[in-house]
């Protein structure tokens, strides 16, 4: 059937896809074509920097920058074709006046492997029936009816899935630990705080395919023996919050969440908790405190959340994308998943590609893909006349990969060996004009402002480090200041209580490692 999919994710909505939908809707109903053309709002289609995006089925042609006038002529052309023949293969006599048809053979599309995002951009995220039609909750039903919780945990372990929230902790192992804890009332938490500035992978998943995440959480709950869950989401994500609320409501109504699921004794209830703007709340112990209605300050681990979590109960915490991987792993099998990516990092990773790059947006690639492939081929490099200087991954907890190391593969270990981290998937391209010292100062200011102040190395250290970086920027620093920057940075990393302080010096140390010249050039004082 002829279908139109219009991106209704935040990026395209900001570029007028709401109005575009309205025009399409009116034109279709005016032409009484409602039975022949299916129009649906969908999640992010990928190349957000070219939005608003429109996909035309059954062929899946993708049009960028389509405006309302184009929409009118498109519906007219579709109507003509429908009147002429019932054959959808008949060429469509239409070309957008303003927008363009995208070449789907471009690396941006060809190099992707969509597993997490397999249904994002295909289904209407506000319509549970469409999600069910492509298999949502099918794996939950299957494991509830024929698998033991242990089998689920084993399958996850065999898949090699690692946490997508940043640290890359083996997911199956974490599930096994929580499953072993005594107590019948455990908790499952989804970390949707996505605080790294410049990262929007989790937002896209939640906006485009929320049921995928809910299903992953319910399966996790069955595997570890939990009966209640929370999704902790940042308040800035208004659309994602709205879609999640609706998704939870629909799932409860249709018996996909709640008591006695699929005629079994297993029940799982879910609550949404909206953050209030504190980056540190993405850290798991701070997140637990925040769910409990307290100040979001981290506490020492152990005890880990697996032992002592929300309300004192054993708690499993995973990231949005981690949960979104669960259903396909169970559907296709652990071996299938383990064969994708590299030996130590299986599966795919979603990245938000932004900054000085021609083609930005949301991409999902197999682990082990090189940075060059993502940035230079898929992203098509920096805009005309400029060259890529470095790529920043991992946000304020990560670092920069210099242009001459772009052959680096995207897996946890390779990135770590370069002094950065995979992080949650923010990937910011920096061109040759980027001031690396200013960038380091920027991230340090971020950590200084977001430090919760509980421990001294982080609270005082980030202030001092930022002061030193500002001094360098002002051309008033000496070699001694630079030395102090490194010593103090190492101290803050080693002695801070939580990940925020422990990684706050990383962006700075990484730019010092690869772009020391930028620093030296600014030393003024003797």
């Amino acid at each position: 059937m002829t279908g139109l999919r219009c991106c209704a994710s935040a990026g395209c909505l900001a570029r007028g896809s709401g109005a575009l939908m309205g025009v399409l809707e009116t034109a279709i109903s005016r032409g009484e074509l409602g039975d022949q053309i299916q129009l649906r709002p969908v999640g992010c289609l990928g190349p957000c920097s070219q939005g608003p995006l429109l996909a035309l089925d059954p062929d899946g042609d993708l049009y960028a920058g389509v405006d309302p006038q184009d929409a009118e002529t498109l519906v007219a052309a579709l109507a003509r074709r429908l009147h002429q023949s019932s054959d959808q293969a008949t060429p469509l006599e239409w070309a957008p006046a303003r927008g363009e048809r995208l070449d789907l053979r471009a690396p941006f599309f060809q190099r992707q492997r969509r597993i997490v995002l397999e249904h994002c951009g295909l289904i209407d995220p506000t319509d549970l029936e469409q999600a069910i039609a492509v298999g949502a909750y099918g794996q939950l039903e299957r494991v509830l009816q024929s698998w033991s919780p242990e089998q689920v945990v084993t399958e996850l372990q065999r898949s090699g899935l690692r946490g997508r929230g940043g640290a890359g902790y083996p997911t199956g192992l974490k599930w096994a630990t929580v499953a072993r804890m005594p107590g019948a009332r455990k908790v499952v938490v989804c970390n949707a705080d996505e605080g790294d500035p410049g990262a929007f992978m989790d937002r896209a998943v939640l906006e485009g395919d929320p049921h995928r995440v809910l299903e992953g959480m319910a399966i996790a709950a069955y595997a570890v023996g939990a009966d209640h869950g929370f999704i902790y989401i940042r308040a800035e994500y208004e659309l994602a919050i709205e879609r999640l609320r609706l998704a939870i409501e629909q799932a409860v109504d249709r018996g996909r969440l709640g008591a006695a699921l699929f005629g079994t004794g297993f029940g799982f209830t879910l609550e949404l908790r909206v953050g209030a703007g504190a980056y540190v709340c993405g850290e798991e112990t701070a997140l637990i405190a925040s769910i409990e209605g307290k100040r979001g300050t981290p506490r020492p681990r152990p005890p880990y959340p697996a032992e002592l979590g929300v309300g004192g109960r054993p708690t499993l915490i995973n990231n949005v994308e981690t949960f979104a991987n669960v259903a396909p792993i169970l559907r296709e099998g652990a071996d299938w998943f383990a064969a994708i990516g590299t030996a130590g990092s299986s599966g795919t990773k979603v990245f938000s590609l932004t900054g000085h790059v021609r083609r930005g947006g949301l991409v999902e690639v197999p682990m082990g893909t090189s940075l060059a492939t993502v940035v230079l081929e898929m992203g098509e490099g920096s805009p005309h006349g400029s060259a890529v200087k470095a790529v920043q991954t991992g946000g304020p907890s990560g670092g920069c990969v210099p242009a001459d190391r772009l052959d680096t593969r995207l897996d946890y270990e390779s990135l770590q060996s370069l002094g950065t981290i995979m992080g949650s998937g923010g990937m910011v391209v920096l061109d040759q004009n980027t001031d690396m010292v200013a960038l380091a100062a920027y991230f340090m200011a971020f950590c200084r402002e977001e430090s919760c102040g509980k421990c001294v190395p982080c609270r005082a250290g980030t202030v001092q480090l930022h002061g030193l970086l500002e001094k360098i920027l002002a051309g008033q620093a000496s070699q001694a200041d630079l030395d102090q920057l490194e010593t103090l940075g190492a101290m803050v990393m080693d002695t801070s209580l939580c990940g925020l302080g422990q990684s706050a010096p990383k962006p700075m140390l990484s730019t010092l490692r690869y772009f020391r010249g930028d620093y030296l050039a600014r030393l003024g004082a003797p």
């Binding site: 929007f200 100040r295 971020f446």
Partner: protein, 156 residues
């Protein structure tokens, strides 16, 4: 028991939904701010009483989070995105233009409540960097010149 004419009655449904549970404090504060624009002292006292929490705990929690306001919002809320993608594509110049045009430092609010200037760390639509937001409108791929004009048109 609060009645319809009681102070802060609009908050009752939310409080009832959470059964007055202390762990719902942040949810309740969100709701309170939404209903009343900001968290005034009497409002915080009311929340504390209804959730049976010490006022210090309620204030301590509220002040920890950036999104809670203790003053009514300014008439014009001017925000610059300083997330990484915006930062490297011109946010600093936009902050400077805002500061100059509004006569306010970043993070400040004019005494008479006419305007406030703040930053946000990523609006989540980085492909349109750099971004600013004034009241309910978003400026995408915002230029400094365009922002200057925009600020001049703000109602006094």
């Amino acid at each position: 028991m609060a009645t319809a004419s009681a102070p802060f009655a609009a908050l009752e449904p939310l409080l009832r939904r959470h059964h007055g549970r202390a762990d719902a404090l942040i949810e309740v504060l969100h709701g309170a701010q939404q209903c009343y624009g900001h968290l005034s002292d009497p409002l915080l006292r009311h929340v504390a009483a209804r959730l049976q929490l010490p006022l210090s705990r309620v204030k301590g929690t509220a002040s920890f989070y950036h999104l809670f306001r203790f003053q009514p919002p300014a008439r014009h809320r001017c925000v610059v995105c300083t997330g990484t993608a915006c930062q490297i594509q011109g946010a600093p110049a936009l902050v400077a233009a805002m500061e100059e045009g509004l006569g306010l430092k970043l993070g400040a609010r004019r005494g008479d409540g006419w305007a406030s200037l703040s930053e946000v760390r990523c609006l989540g639509t980085c492909s349109d960097a750099p971004l600013v937001q004034i009241d309910d409108s978003i400026g995408r791929q915002q230029t400094v010149a365009g922002l200057r004009r925009w600020l001049q048109e703000l109602e006094p």
